[in-house]
Symmetry: C2
Subunit: 336 residues, 2 copies
């Protein structure tokens, strides 16, 4: 347990310890980055190989998840749930039992299902959902890096029942790890990642299959556009299944949008022979997204004790902005 720096919030201004459950790519990187940032941090995982590798690298890590959680409870640590989506419910039950009343966040790729599971399985826990938008192709401790989150977007959820002091603790951890904190509702997060992460994975899978149906000739002629469009089809299927199937509710309407647009292109090509509306719309959309990304930003301050703080935080995220730091209970944000 640290506490001598005087920075951060909660625990009377002390920096919270960090307990990471799950030490794969994301959890391992959280443990590495937390220690690098000067925090007292430890981890536990059911994976013997990840635990051994982390311990061999000099980290406070083991396979006893219950012990790690008990230690978190006694030191008022932030607990970071970094297990695969399919293991979330069972670990939530352990948290509820061994660290009730703790401050819990997660790093999984969907937020509504995890929020609902936390409410159902771990009602004594103060939960704030999180999702760092960084790497999914690798999955072990060996791929973990303290710099993984540098400059990355890290969604932290703001819901009607979110305790803003708890939200600040989680956001401060993300900021300390180098990320830009994007405050969003869980539903907005899930719809957005369906568009910009889960749909791309499904389209890459479809494109790879249709391409491979062209046999060795297709392999011989495939160049830039095909290589780009199929790159993520090389991701481990289990990871892609977990994130897409886990986001079923938000993904279905997005899949329907894509099917509608592709079907419209098909219909237009078959009837008039033209693809102008599909291609022009895609080109304009790509330019619009690039403009959003390169838009100049304005500095905004959100006082978390203000009555409209929740709405003000959500407005930051929904306009494509992000929190970069805290000054007492004021979130300092940049908004396009």
């Amino acid at each position: 347990m640290s506490g001598d720096t005087g920075e951060g919030t909660g625990k009377g201004g002390a920096v919270r310890d960090v307990c990471v459950i799950g030490l794969g790519l994301i959890g391992g990187s959280v443990l590495r980055a937390a220690v690098s940032s000067g925090r007292n941090a430890w981890g536990a995982t059911a994976s013997v190989s990840d635990a051994d590798a982390a311990a061999a690298d000099g980290y406070d890590a083991g396979t006893d998840v219950v012990e790690a959680l008990r230690r978190a409870a006694s030191s008022e640590a932030v607990v970071v749930l970094a297990v695969p989506l399919t293991a979330v419910e069972s670990v939530l039950a352990l948290v509820e039992r061994h660290a009730p009343g703790c401050l819990l966040t997660d790093v999984t790729s969907v937020k509504v299902p995890v929020r609902d599971a936390a409410r159902a399985v771990a009602p004594s826990v103060t939960f704030v959902g999180g999702h760092p938008m960084a790497g999914t192709a690798e999955s072990s401790w060996h791929a973990a890096a303290a710099e993984l989150f540098a400059g990355a977007a890290w969604v932290t959820t703001v819901e009607p029942d979110t305790v803003l002091a708890a939200w600040q603790e989680v956001a401060t951890l993300a900021v300390d790890l180098g990320a830009r904190v994007v405050p969003l509702g869980a539903g907005t997060h899930d719809e957005t990642v369906a568009r910009i992460s889960h749909l791309p994975h499904l389209l890459a899978a479809v494109l790879a299959s249709v391409g491979a149906a062209g046999g060795p000739v297709a392999a011989a002629l495939a160049a830039g556009s095909f290589a780009d469009g199929t790159r993520v089809a090389g991701t481990r299927p289990a990871l892609v299944r977990a994130m897409t199937e886990g986001n079923r509710t938000a993904l279905l309407p997005v899949l329907d949008e894509a099917l509608g647009a592709l079907g419209a292109a098909r219909g237009s090509l078959a009837s008039t022979g033209g693809l102008a509306s599909t291609i022009d719309a895609g080109h304009k959309a790509a330019r619009k997204l690039a403009e959003h990304r390169h838009a100049p930003t304005t500095s905004v301050r959100v006082r978390l004790s203000a009555p409209d703080a929740r709405d003000a935080l959500l407005a930051v995220g929904e306009r494509g902005g992000y929190v970069t730091a805290f000054d007492g209970d004021v979130a300092l944000a940049e908004v396009p």
Copy 2:
């Protein structure tokens, strides 16, 4: 007119001069690379800016297409049609009028429509279709480079009525320019590029549109998979329209395959909640394509005067192989 090296075929073993009509990215690169390879070469284009830029760079280039074609006729040059697909028919008519009996090839992205146009509009011309699989995003002389074709696949069509001596002239030019020559039927080419080039462009357009519908939040969260999947949506719409609309017949069934696969994913996600078959198939397909690309090759010799030469060449291309050189009338090929 060159001819002192004794290499190549036709004209009693002399290397043919090259006349390039159209001096954008591909045509300009053909002119640069032909000169670099030691050939006598000139070009003409309706684009004053491309002609001026080529001349300023020291190339024999101008805007008088008719004069360039007459010169090609008198020196028995290979004429390379490098104009946009929409201009092919009108230039074919000029070739038929001013350089009848010449040896003509093209570099456009579809082969059946150009073959049919050549048969209809330029019946006196000896035509061999071609398509170097290199760059489409840029389009002016300024983007042209002699090295554009180094190591690239360059399809040269082999049809029932193809004159193999003419095919060898065109293939020799592609080899001289640094390319791997892939002999294919025009229909196989068009189906294959529909899979590995035209479908990727349409999926990128659809993905960009669905992503942009997520607004500034989508722009803020978009990372690797979305950036990869939408990269070619930045290509000039006119270029994408020309190649996709120009390949309508081959593209429609490929679009239907993609719609079927995406619809099946949607149906499975909605009914069982599972996406295993889509994701596993995509992952296997990506691995299979990578295996094709990295497969060891065997050297094969095809004597163009042999009675089964046409089938032997097509077998090379259809197995993912390519011709690397000629030894007299023997094509030296590598086949996976």
